[in-house]
Amino acid sequence: MSGSEFPKPSAKEAQEAQALANALSRRERTSSPAMREDARDEHRGDGDVEANALADFARDLNVAWSPSSLDAASNKTLVARALARAPKKRSSNVVLLFGAAGLAAGIAAAAAFVLLLSKAGDTSVADLAARVPPSAYVTSASTEALFHEPYGSVRSSDRIDRIATRRASDLRENRFRAWGLR
């Protein structure tokens, strides 16, 4: 296509061509890609959609042909933002806590098992008693000796406490004998 073959533009086309040239020049004056975006956005209001669309297309071609680098600071910011949303690694404290809880649960389970075994092997009081001759047991004696005061001068609850203490002592003694501890 030579100069003579170049069809003369209509007034509208000349105007659009001028708008495109302006849009490209405006972007050229800005240094960074981000500022170029801003320059395009500033231009958005003047109604020349066609010029902006072609300028966008020219920019697509330009960056595909020789793409610019992303500055390290911007990259760092994007990385930090993504990592901030990442779930945190389980810390050693948490592991320790869960470890301790697991250990405690293990000990509890072991204790329960031992209890179960000992229960299974437990002999009833009646069985134990049968193994010890009756003469070996303490015979529950009268509690009369506990009361030196005249009847009625001691409160009922005190009397009952003394009787209960004596009987408990007899019972304890007989259990020890039954278990062979005496």
């Binding site: 533009p9 001028q18 595909a64 680098s69 690694k89």
Partner: protein
């Protein structure tokens, strides 16, 4: 130094040296998979700028879109790092695939004509996934060449004078006055010429001629 047998893209088998850098990267990957955020941060900082420059910016065409896509890529990497399996090629091919998919999604959402059609990118990705994944260096060269080839093919469909106007003014970023002088026209005529050139190229792309 260890030697390992790997299949390079497309089907060539070669011996590849396992360098200390590979070992270091593998260690970082393992730590990242275990939830070590600083390790993942090192990997992203190392490769993010390549993803931006070679994968996202050429295909998306603007700094803002490419940064959005990179941010989205990072979010997906953080989410999916536990699923990454080390295959002796480094983590870049995997990162690139994620970035590629993000770019495809962004292009699909756009209304206007773009240099790269999402369907073409998808086909390219599928083709690459079928073969053994190449290494980082391969991708960088490949992506650079690929972007330029797309433009060259598109330019090949328009009038040579239009092609020259776009090459000098848009691709090489030369001043408008100098380009007008080089093409032997006035600045006003050059403005019209460039307008017609870009319109023709855009039309060729949108009609699928290129």
């Amino acid at each position: 130094m260890q030697l390992s047998l790997v299949t390079a893209y497309p089907l060539t088998v070669m011996l590849r040296c396992v360098t200390p850098e590979d070992a270091e990267e593998r260690e970082l990957v393992l730590r990242a998979k275990a939830g070590d955020r600083p390790a993942l941060g090192i990997l992203l900082e190392r490769y993010g700028r390549d993803l931006y420059r070679h994968v996202l910016l050429p295909r998306l065409g603007s700094d803002a879109h490419a940064k959005d896509a990179l941010s989205e890529t990072y979010a997906k990497v953080v989410e999916q790092i536990g699923r990454f399996e080390w295959q002796g090629k480094g983590i870049y091919p995997w990162l690139r695939t994620i970035a590629f998919r993000v770019a495809i999604d962004q292009l699909r959402a756009r209304k206007r004509t773009t240099l790269f059609a999402p369907e073409d990118l998808e086909r390219q990705l599928e083709k690459e996934e079928k073969g053994a994944s190449p290494e980082t260096n391969y991708f960088e060269d490949h992506d650079r060449r690929d972007a330029r080839a797309v433009i060259e093919r598109a330019l090949g469909k328009i009038n040579p004078r239009y092609r020259e106007a776009i090459r000098l003014r848009v691709l090489e970023d030369r001043p408008r006055e100098l380009v007008a002088q080089e093409l032997g026209v006035t600045v006003a005529t050059f403005d019209v010429l460039l307008h017609r050139s870009l319109t023709a190229l855009k039309k060729a792309l949108s009609s699928g001629e290129s």
